[in-house]
Each structure stands twice: as C-alpha cells, then as structure tokens.
C-alpha cells in the first residue's frame, strides 16, 4: 500500500508542556484509522495539525511521497486534505450552499456545482433539507451536511474529529454508515473518537493516543 501521509518526529507543546510527541506516523491509501484515547490525549490536536489548522514542530512531512512544509502546504495539497470539526460550523446559508462552498472555491461552474452538491446531499440522506438554513439543523443533520460538504470535494484524506460525539443513537448510526462509505482504495480516513462501534468497524486500524504518544 502506498503511503499518502508520512510524518517523522511530530511534536507540539502548550505552555512549555509537551502535548504531542509522535516519532513516526504513516497513513496508507485504502486504510481507515480510528484514533482513540482519553479526552485531552491529543486526538483533536493531531488531526488539526495534519489538516494544517494548528502549527507543530515536524522533522519531516511527506504527502504522496513529496516532502513538504506542513505549515505551508501548497493549495493543491491542502485541498486533498478534508477536515470535519467535532461540531461542524455551518455557514449562514442553506445546506445546499454549504455543500457548494468548496466547489465554488475551486471555480466549478454553477450548474455542475449544484448537481454535485445535490448528489452529495442525497448521499448523506439530506436531499429533502437542501434548502433548509444549515445553522438551524439538528446536530446529526449538521454532521451529515458537513460530511457531504467534504465528500463532494473528493479529497485524498478525510480527517474526522469525533463525528459521533453528542449524537443520539439514530444520528450516530447514520453518521457511522456514511463514514464507512468514505473508505476507498485510494483514500485515507482518520477518525478521532472513542465510539466503540466505530473502533470495531471491520478493517479499521486502531491508533491509540496516550498522553500525546501513540501506543501500539
């Protein structure tokens, strides 16, 4: 399997205290990873660093074999890394416009953009709520819109931060089903969570963080 992301000697400190210290992390194409660990273990921090949202000291970072500066990723690489917050932010517009956002940024023409966004919302089971104001949707619905919003861009890497936290049983079930569908031969899916159902999904590789270190 080809490595999509390779990181060597990643470290992050907060107030002089090390919060993450990872000698090596390799994320392979076609693999799904569950990043488990207690609250404060550094799961969200690691995902945010990989998404380029938070700085860290990194000795070596390679994306698809190309050595890059993690804090200065070129736009084409940055656009291959999709990140979803634990509580996704919904822009103050409809669910459809939210899903269209990344396509608009990429200059996709309007007709194609709308068609792709509608397809993504249908995939997430949100077709009927396409015109609903996204900020007034329930937590589970917002999470599904966020998954559609990132899936429509077809990134190489999905980084999902606690996607099932604070969802009811039905919402959790639907979100887990969608996440299972994100995995593909050329994709990497990394899910930070302590949801046992997610951890036990077939074929998922478990990475456990303990006090900022990856445990075997």
């Amino acid at each position: 399997m080809a490595a999509v992301i390779e990181v060597t000697a990643l470290a992050r400190s907060w107030g002089g205290r090390p919060v993450l210290r990872i000698p090596q992390l390799v994320l392979d194409a076609g693999s799904s990873y569950v990043l488990s660990g207690d609250n404060g273990a550094g799961k969200s921090t690691l995902l945010r660093i990989l998404a380029g949202l938070q700085p860290a000291q990194v000795e070596r970072f390679a994306f698809e074999g190309n050595l890059l500066q993690l804090d200065r990723l070129p736009a084409p690489v940055r656009r291959q890394i999709g990140f979803v917050h634990q509580h996704p932010y919904m822009f103050s517009s409809s669910a459809l416009t939210n899903v269209e956002y990344g396509l608009r940024v990429r200059g996709i023409p309007r007709n194609r953009r709308e068609r792709l966004a509608h397809e993504a919302l249908a995939w997430a089971g949100m077709a009927e709520l396409a015109d609903a104001p996204a900020q007034r949707l329930s937590g589970g619905e917002q999470q599904r819109v966020a998954l559609a919003r990132v899936k429509v861009l077809s990134p190489r890497v999905y980084l999902l931060d606690e996607p099932t936290a604070n969802l009811d049983a039905d919402g959790r079930r639907r979100v887990i089903d969608l996440i299972a569908q994100l995995a593909a031969a050329d994709k990497v899916v990394v899910i930070a969570c302590h949801d046992l159902e997610m951890i036990n999904l077939p074929g998922v590789v478990r990475l456990h963080l303990e006090n900022g270190r990856l445990e075997p």
Binding site: L53, A75, R78, F83, F91, L129, A132, R136
Partner: protein, 236 residues
C-alpha cells in the same frame, strides 16, 4: 420670529424643495457616503487583520484604533489644514476648501470607527468559520471574506456607526471645507452659520434633516441587527 414661526418656516423650506437647503443636504450625503466608500474597504481589512492575525505591536495598534475613535474632529481638521494649506507639504494639490478635502477629513474620522467595530465583530466570530473555509480549500483572502460575511451584521453596524460619526461632524468640515455656499457647505456647517446670522428657519430645517438621517441610520441598524440576531424555528 418665535419658535412656532421658525418651525413652520423650516417645514415650508423642507417641503417646498428649497434648492439651497436640499443642495446643502446633498453635499453632506455625497461627502459622507464617498468618505465611507473610500475608507471602508481598507478600514474593514485593518479591523479583520487586527482581530485575526497575531503580529508584534498588534495590541498597541488595537489600543490606538480604539482611542482614535474619539479623536477630536476639529483637531483632524487642523492637522489636515496644515497639510493642505498653501505652505503645507500637500499644498500643491490645491485641495483646501474643496469637497475632496472634506472627504479626506471624514475618511480619517471614519477609519478608526470602521476598523474598531469590524475588529469587535470579527473577534466575536466563531473561529470555526475561518477554519472551515480554509479546510474546504479557501485561500486566505477568500477565508477572510467568508468570515466577514458570517459577521456581516457586525460589519454593517461598523458602517452605520462610521456614517453616524461623520454625517454630523462639524469641526473638520469647517476647517478644511471652509463652508463655501454651494460647494462645501454641508448640514452641520450651515446650521452653525445660519444660527450665527440669526436665520433660524434654515438651521432648524437642516437640523430636522440631520435628526431624520441619524434616526434612519439607527433604525436601519437596529432592524439589521435584529434580523441577524433573531432565531425563529424553521419549518420544512
């Protein structure tokens, strides 16, 4: 002329479409709106950067921007006068006692108000808005525009507050405009002049226009902010 007669005459001037009076109103609105349009983009950008980007000296700049909101307009006028007067460094531009000089002065006065209110609006923005835009592929300018759009009611409040500050200021307009009839005479300078001449009717009429403008700005602002703040249950 007693107060009743003065008010009656003021309303007559207003509703008869008195060209002198409405010419003064036009100068006021034109100068203030142009000052806002010209100062707005840079001031909003400065407000955003101060709220969003960490750099050395940022805190000092924030304090300065907030302090300059209450900088006396007559001192702004004095400084501009010194710059624009014939012996001043910008005297060759021959801008003193022209509308562009008034616009320049009002830009200087509006700038810190616009920047400070934008700063507050962006500081109140959900940090996930910018992160979400960036993680969906937006570059810095695009992500900044998205964040500003998300706090658009706060940015609109900045624009209204800036307008409120400059439409009624007199010190700077008087110093660099010179209160020339038909050219640089705006509502505040005309009110001051007419009153000093004992001609109260036009002063009262212009005062009414100024009050209506100020009220309209505040009512619009309240309506806009209400629209942004109200959360009604959405029904499919």
């Amino acid at each position: 002329m007693d107060l009743l007669d003065t008010t009656r005459e003021a309303f007559r001037l207003l509703f008869s479409g008195d060209p002198t009076l409405w010419g003064i109103v036009w100068v006021s609105i034109k100068v203030s709106v142009l000052a806002l349009i010209l100062a707005g983009p840079l001031a909003v950008a400065v407000g955003f950067v101060l709220a969003h980007v960490a750099f050395p000296g940022r805190r000092l700049l924030v304090i300065l921007v907030q302090a300059f909101q209450s900088f006396p307009t007559v001192v702004v006028g004095l400084l501009l006068y010194l710059l624009l007067s014939r012996q001043g460094p910008l005297g060759a531009l021959h801008l003193l006692f022209t509308q562009p000089a008034m616009i320049l002065g009002q830009m200087v006065i509006a700038f810190p108000v616009l920047a400070a209110y934008t700063l507050t609006a962006v500081q109140g923005a959900d940090p996930r808005a910018h992160e979400t835009a960036a993680s969906l592929g937006a570059g810095r300018p695009r992500a900044a525009m998205t964040t500003l759009w998300e706090v658009r009611f706060g940015v609109m409040a900045a624009v209204f507050m800036g307008f409120g500050r400059i439409i009624s200021e007199i010190g700077c307009s008087l110093m660099v405009g010179g209160n020339i009839a038909g050219l640089t005479r705006n509502i505040p300078t005309a009110i001051a002049l007419e009153t000093s001449k004992g001609e109260f009717a036009q002063g009262v009429a212009l005062g009414i226009v100024l009050i209506v403008l100020a009220l309209a700005v505040n009512v619009t602002l309240a309506a806009v902010q209400g629209q942004g703040g109200m959360r009604r249950a959405w029904q499919p």
